[in-house]
């Protein structure tokens, strides 16, 4: 892109071709984001309130999603749980992406030994299976919110770093970055003002993809009983604690699992239909 076109077109217009499945994905993700903020205030009951007389009850007018193994309202439990599943995953993904992008930008702009050192260390991290690493960390430090967030952020930083670095390397080889260097700008300035704005969209797409992995990992850990600890419950722990209802097909097991699936599938649909996106979940969990 030359300067001439940038001058004649004051704002480069992107054509957002919105497909049906992308819209559905956006709607589902948007819905859960709103529920994360507003869920507890519109939930009919408290998270721990024992309101039903029957345990693992089927759907009814009074309890739209049935009751859980202690007779608590499942709809309220899921709405409260959104805070943990969506909120925690958002924080962890934000952390991972922020660290990955910052390190990647730094490595690409700086080059040399710093680049090599960061790359080698993070490559070693990638070779640890994520669930296993999380299990070891939880075994060592116990399961608490900071440990979970930190562990997940560390697990997904290398992937973010790889993507950010490979893009930043290409961008920092371009003329305008050379010009900025010649002007005598500092590394931090080049990272922030010259390189970062040119890789926003891929980084955002990557954020969405990683958010899906984080949700899957966190709910998987909670399902194993080593994630969110009671009395707090995310959707993974809701599936786990109501597992005894599986034999009767109680909605208390199905609904939280369906909530996770809707969130992750919605996000996948959304990022698959973003412009400039070719392949999606080919890379691993």
């Amino acid at each position: 892109m030359t300067n001439a076109t940038a001058d004649t077109l004051p704002r480069r217009r992107r054509r957002w071709r919105v497909s049906a499945s992308g819209t559905v994905g956006l709607a589902v993700v948007g819905f859960w984001l709103v529920m994360t903020l507003a869920g507890p205030s519109i939930a009919p009951h408290g998270s721990g309130a024992m309101v039903g007389s029957e345990i693992l009850a089927p759907m009814s007018r009074e309890f739209p999603l049935g009751t859980d193994y202690l007779g608590r309202d499942m709809l309220s439990r899921i709405l409260w749980g959104a805070r943990y599943t969506v909120g925690l995953a958002l924080i962890a993904t934000l952390l991972a992406c922020a660290m990955g992008v910052a390190l990647g930008l730094f490595a690409a702009v700086q080059g040399g030994i710093g680049d090599a050192a960061i790359s080698r260390v993070l490559d070693a991290f990638i070779s640890i299976p994520s669930k296993m690493f999380a299990l070891v960390m939880v075994a060592a430090l116990g399961s608490s919110l900071p440990v979970l967030i930190g562990t997940v952020a560390v697990i997904y930083t290398p992937g973010c770093y790889r993507l950010a670095r490979s893009m930043a390397v290409n961008i920092s080889a371009m003329d305008f970055v050379t010009v900025a260097r010649a002007r005598g700008e500092r590394t931090a300035f080049i990272m922030r003002e010259e390189v970062l704005p040119n890789m926003v969209l891929p980084v955002l797409t990557d954020f969405g993809l990683r958010f899906v992995f984080v949700v899957l990992l966190l709910s998987g850990l909670s399902f194993l009983g080593v994630g969110i600890q009671p009395p707090a419950a995310d959707w993974g722990s809701l599936v786990r604690e109501n597992l005894e209802g599986l034999r009767d097909g109680a909605p208390a097991v199905i609904m939280p699992a369906a909530a996770i699936a809707s969130l992750t599938i919605g996000m996948t649909l959304l990022i698959d239909n973003l412009p400039g996106r070719r392949r999606s979940t080919v890379e691993g969990h």
Partner: protein, 318 residues
């Protein structure tokens, strides 16, 4: 085999060994960072200082961490990863009784999902853009993006609860006939395969499509070769390497998938052993299991790399 390839393969193996070494260091550091004293935790609040000191010596905790790390590493290599803190059994014995079960499960899942995924991936690449391709694509995207425990839960619900075809639990010890073996393994294997297969199908399809987008394939199409012929005779031989790479890489998902599947089907494998050990903070057991899983994962990724190197004719005939 020539010098270039030998060097590349040597480098890969060396990286794999080095990664495993780094992983062992990380695992050891993570598990040694326990807040609070392990001995205090084992003996309880009322323990006398002498008892704590004695146990510390018995567990070798009175020596510096680097020494303990080297001893632990040496123990691992010679097949003696220590004694379980919880039930005082040798860790090697506990793992030996569970490992065959896990290998059986993973082996059956691999035997089932590799051919199935190759078939789905290749056929969907042949009929790219067709309704069949879209169905396969949607199904695999969906499977990849839902948690493994959801697939397992649904499988139990449909096949064991509603249809009553299969038992919901599997006990590897009570197997007498082949039919019984297949019946009790059907659900865990299907669940594990499902997750691995979705990944493998997508990667196979993507690998084949990369080849299909090259000019020589366009040439074959222009000269009038039928789509089936183009894919099977022109494209597939060149895609064998990437596909083998995809298959080996996808198999590394068995590691993560096995953890969930063994729990939900209460299958007596090594992953359940590890999750139980995490819950009871049985560090020697956690360390040993973590190393086994990491090693399995790294070896599969290494095999994937080697497939890519070995199948590259440019390297073979240089």
């Amino acid at each position: 085999m020539n010098a270039v390839m030998a060097r590349l393969i040597g480098a890969r193996v060396a990286v794999c060994v080095l990664s495993l070494l780094i992983v062992s260091g990380l695992v050891f550091i993570a598990t040694s960072l326990l807040p609070g004293d392990v001995t205090q935790e084992i003996l309880g609040q009322s323990a006398t200082p002498e008892a704590v000191e004695g146990l510390r010596r018995a567990l070798n905790l009175d020596r510096p961490a680097p020494v303990r790390y080297l001893e632990w590493l040496g123990g691992l290599l010679t097949g003696d990863p220590g004694i379980s803190l919880v039930n005082r059994l040798p860790v090697a014995e506990m793992i030996a009784s569970r490992l065959p079960n896990s290998l059986l499960l993973a082996g059956m899942a691999a035997a089932f999902c590799v051919p199935a995924a190759l078939f789905l991936g290749i056929t969907s690449a042949i009929w790219r853009g067709s309704a069949y391709d879209r169905v396969v694509n949607t199904a695999t995207v969906t499977t990849v993006s839902v948690p493994e425990f959801l697939v397992a839960t649904l499988a139990v619900l449909i096949f064991a609860v509603h249809l009553r075809w299969l038992p919901a639990m599997s006990y590897a010890s009570k197997i007498e006939s082949v039919g019984q073996l297949l019946r009790s393994f059907a659900l865990p294997v299907a669940t594990l395969s499902c997750v691995v297969m979705a990944q493998m199908t997508r990667m196979t399809r993507a690998a084949l499509l990369t080849v299909l987008d090259t000019p020589y394939i366009e040439m074959a199409v222009l000269k009038g070769a039928r789509p089936m012929r183009v894919v099977l005779l022109h494209a597939l031989p060149n895609a064998v390497g990437p596909i083998a790479n995809a298959v080996a890489f996808s198999l590394s998902y068995l590691v993560g998938g096995a953890i969930i599947v063994e729990i939900i089907f209460s299958y007596p494998g090594i992953a359940r052993l590890m999750v139980d050990a995490v819950a009871t903070r049985d560090m020697p057991l956690v360390q040993a299991c973590a190393m086994i899983f990491s090693a399995a994962y790294l070896v599969l990724v290494l095999v994937a790399d080697l497939c890519a190197i070995l199948s590259n004719p440019r390297l073979r005939y240089r």
